[in-house]
C-alpha cells in the first residue's frame, strides 16, 4: 500500500508553498547564512517568551499507523498521543516518548539523532522533514506525522526504500578516474575551487525526502530523481575523473528518464534537510548536456 490512499486528508493542511527561489544573484552559501541570521533573530524573540510559556504544556501527536499483520492495523489509521512538551523537543523526541511510554509497537527508523544518518525523513504536517531536525515548537499543533508519500509503507512510519536505493545506485555513484598518480603515497591534486563546486552535492544523506516531494518521480517510476541526479553531478563535476568517464556519465544523465524530466518546481530543493541546491544542480547538468551535444554537431 501507499500513503496516497483515501486516508490522506492532509492535503487541506498543507502549509503554503514557499515561493520559488530567487535568481542566483547571491551564492547559495551566502543565502544560507542570511537565512540563518534571520532565524537567529526570530529565535531570540521567541526565546524570551518560551521559558515560561510551555510549563506543563502537552502537545498532541497524530501518527499514521499500519501493519499488514496486526488485527486492527491492516487498515491505515491515525493514533493520537499526548506528549509533555519541553523546549527543544524534536519530532523524533516526541515519537520516542510516545513509543517508550505508550505503545512499544510504534515503529519508525532513527539512529544518529543529528541529521546525518538520514533514517528519519517523515511527512510532518504535510511536508518532508527529518524528525530529529524539526522542533515541535516550530510546528502547528497538533502535529501530524506520516510516512514519506509516494513510497510503499512497510509499517507505521517505515517506508520501502529499495526503489530509492536502486535509483541512487543506477548512476554509477562511485569515483572512477581514468588514471591515478604513480606513487602509492601520491595523492591526486584537486583545486580548492573544484572541491567547493562539488561540496554541497557531497552532503547528501540519502534520506529520500527530495524523491518523495517530487511530482515527476511520483508519476514516472523510472525517473532517476533529484538525489540520484545530484550523485551523478557530484562525480561529473569532480575534476579528478577523466574525460572518458565524463562522457559515460553524461549518457546516464541525459537518458530518457534523466535530467530532462525535471520541470524545475524546486520542491526537492525546498525539502532537502542538508540544503543542497538540487534543482540548480539538475539545471547545471542540463546546460552541460547541451554544451556537449553542440560540440558534436
Amino acid at each position: 500500500m501507499s500513503t496516497q490512499t483515501p486516508e490522506s486528508e492532509t492535503e487541506t493542511e498543507t502549509e503554503p508553498e514557499a515561493e520559488a527561489e530567487p535568481p542566483a544573484t547571491k551564492s547559495h552559501q551566502q543565502r544560507r547564512m542570511d537565512d540563518k541570521r534571520a532565524r537567529a533573530e526570530a529565535r531570540d524573540e521567541a526565546a524570551a517568551q518560551a521559558a515560561t510559556e510551555f510549563e506543563g504544556e502537552t502537545v498532541e501527536l497524530k501518527v499514521f499507523r499500519y501493519d499488514p499483520e496486526v488485527e486492527g492495523k491492516e487498515e491505515p489509521r491515525f493514533d493520537s498521543f499526548t506528549v509533555p512538551f519541553e523546549k527543544g523537543m524534536t519530532v523524533l523526541d516526541a515519537l520516542i516518548f510516545a513509543r517508550d511510554e505508550y505503545d512499544s509497537s510504534l515503529t519508525f527508523r532513527h539512529s544518529c539523532r543529528q541529521a546525518v544518518c538520514g533514517s528519519d525523513a517523515f511527512f510532518v504536517n504535510g511536508r518532508q522533514r527529518l524528525g530529529c531536525q524539526t522542533q515541535m515548537g516550530d510546528l502547528e499543533w497538533p502535529v501530524r506525522v506520516e510516512p514519506l508519500p509516494h513510497q510503499d509503507v512497510v509499517k507505521d512510519l517505515v517506508v520501502e526504500m529499495d526503489h530509492f536505493y536502486d535509483q541512487m545506485e543506477s548512476v554509477q555513484p562511485f569515483f572512477d578516474p581514468d588514471e591515478l598518480p604513480d606513487g602509492e603515497l601520491e595523492e591526486q591534486r584537486q583545486d580548492r575551487e573544484n572541491r567547493e563546486n562539488i561540496k554541497l552535492s557531497t552532503r547528501c544523506i540519502w534520506c529520500g525526502a527530495c524523491m518523495s516531494s517530487c511530482n515527476i518521480a511520483a508519476g514516472d517510476n523510472q525517473y532517476l530523481g533529484p538525489a540520484a541526479i545530484n550523485a551523478a553531478y557530484r562525480f561529473y563535476m569532480d575534476e579528478r575523473e577523466g574525460e572518458q568517464k565524463r562522457q559515460e556519465r553524461l549518457e546516464i544523465i541525459e537518458q530518457e528518464h534523466g535530467v530532462w524530466r525535471c520541470q524545475t518546481q524546486f520542491s526537492c530543493t525546498e525539502v532537502c534537510p542538508k540544503d543542497i541546491p538540487l534543482t540548480e544542480h539538475i539545471q547545471e547538468l542540463k546546460r552541460e548536456a547541451v554544451k556537449e551535444n553542440l560540440k558534436f554537431w
Binding site: 499483520e69 505503545d103 539512529s111 544518518c117 603515497l185 552532503r203
Partner: protein, 612 residues
Amino acid sequence: MYEHDVIVVGGGGAGLRAAIAAQEQGADVAIVTKLHPVRSHTGAAEGGINAALRDGDSWEDHAYDTMKGSDYLGDAPAIDTFAKTAPEEVIQLEHWGMPFSREDDGRVSQRPFGGLSFPRTTYAGAETGHHMLHTLYQQVVKRGIEVYDEWYVSNLAVSDEPDPNDRECHGVVAWDVQSGEIAGFKARDGVILATGGLGQAYDHTTNAVANTGDGVAMAYRAGVPIEDMEMIQFHPTTLPSTGVLISEGVRGEGGILYNSEGERFMFEYGYATNDGELASRDVVSRAELTEINSGRGIDDEYVYLDMRHLGEERITDRLENILHLAEDFEGVDGLEEPMPVKPGQHYAMGGVETNEFGETCVDGLYAAGECACVSLHGANRLGGNALPELIVFGALAGRHAAGEDMGEPLIETGPSDEADREELGVPTGLPDSDSAESAADGGEPVVDARSPDDVVADAEVREEERIETLLEREDGVNHADVRANLQQSMTDNVNVFRQEENLEDALEDIQEARERYQDVYVADKSRTFNTDLQHTIETRNLLDVAEAITMGALARDEFRGAHWRKEHQERKDDEWLKHTMVTWNDGDPELWYRPVLLEGHDQTYEPKNRSY
C-alpha cells in the same frame, strides 16, 4: 541458510573497509548490517583522520603521540602497525575520490588536533566521517559486494569446546528486520565483527541509538575476552541538551573554552599550561567538570566554546557543519555567540580482544573498529585516531579472513590459565534463578555441535526459540524501562569521575536490571519490522557491556587516561601496566589481567609523565 566465504557484521567504516579488502583478496564476501550502510554512525564523525603524510612528520611520531595519549596502556605492536599503515590507507581513500579539504597546491589539508605533535589530521570540512563512510560505500557498490541491509545479527555460530581458545566460529544468525525471517549465515573463512560503539549504555552520549555494543556482547558470550572496558572516552565538547558532538576541529582551528567568569580556564587554572584547549580529551573533560563543580560553570551544567574570533570566512570554510549542528540542536548561532558544551560519553577504547590482524582467540572470528580492542587507544584515544583505525584494521582483518598469510602476531589472545582471577566481592553475571531461560540468556555456545553446518543450524534453532519466547509472553517488563534505568545509573556512577562506592552501586543496579530483564516481554507481536523485539535484544547486550565496564572500573584502582578514581589519584605503573580482561565464563564473569606490550616490531616505549 546463506553462505559466503567472509561475513562482515556491520556496515560502518571498519565493516565496509574489511569487505572491500576481503573481496580484493578474492573472497566471496557479504555484509550483514542492522542499518543500511550509509546510516552507520561513522557518518557522524566530524574532525578528521590522522596520518603522517608530510615532510617533518613521521609514523614514529604518530606512534609516539598515540602511545603517550593512551597513557601507556596501548600495545606497541598495534600502535606501530597503525601509524605505519595509516598514510597508505588515507591516500587510498583519496584515490577512491573522498572529497578532502584541500590546500592551495591541491593537496590534502591537515590541521592540528589534541595531543598531536604535528598537524597531521586530514579532514573533509567538519563532516569527515560522512565523507569517509560514503566514499567506502561507493566502492562497495562499485564492486557489487552483497549487502544484507536491515538484517539484525543476534548471535554468533561458535562451536562449544570448553576452552574458548579451541572454539571455532562458523557464521552468524540474523533476522531480516523487514520480514522477520530468521536465517543462518555460514562463513566458510571468517566472521568479522564491525558493530561499532556501545554509547547507549549511557544516558548522555554522542553515539547513535544503534550503538548498543552488539558485537562486543556477542563475542563476550561466545567466550572471547573483552579488554579494558572501563576505558570510556568522554568528549569535552558535546551540546548539553542532546549530546550532539561539536568537533575537536573547533579547538584545532583555534576555538577557546571559557568558564562563567570569562576565564580561559585551561591555562588560568593550570590544567594544561602548554597545550591549553588542545590537550588530550580526558584532560579537557576533567577540567570542564572541575570548573562546573567549583561553581564556575554556566547554569551549573556547562562551559562555553567560543569560535567567533576565527571569523565567518574560516568558519564557513572549515567548520560550517558546526554552525548547523549548534543551531539545529541547541538553538545557538556559533557566529554570534559562544556554544554551550559539556563532556559526554563518546567512545569505547576497550572491546573485543584481538591481535594486530584483528583475530580473536576463537578461530575464524575477527573484530575491527570501535567494537575491537587491539589495543590501540589504551586508556585514552586521541582525536582523529578513530577513523584511521577503522580503515587500517578493517583492511587487515578483511585480508586475513580472506586467507592472506601475515605471519605470526606479536599480540597474544584468549583466556589464559596462568592469570590470577580478581575477586571484586560484588555479585555480577546472570542472577541465580530457575527462570533463567534462553530469552534472558542471550544464547550459550551450542551443545553437541558437529560440522560447521550443524553449528550454524543449531545456533539458528536457538535464536528462533529465544525470539519465540520473547514474543509469546503476554506481559512483563518493557525493555525501555530497564534500559533507561541502566543508562541513568551508568551516567550517575561510572562517568568521568569515579569512586568505589558509586561503582558498587552501579553493579547492584545492573544486577537488579538483569533480574528485571528475565521478565522482559515484547509487546509488539508482529514479525514485520519489529523494532520492539530488536531493541529488547539490544538492551540485553547493553547490560553485558555495562557490567564489564563497571567491573573494570572497580578493579583498576589507579588514575590512568580516561579512568579517574577518587581514592587513587596517581598512575601506578608498578602495578597497573596491564589490561583488564573480562571473560563471560558461562554467565559467571571472571576478571583477570594481561601485561601491556611496550615493545613492538620496531620500537620500545618507556612510560613517561603525561603532560600537555
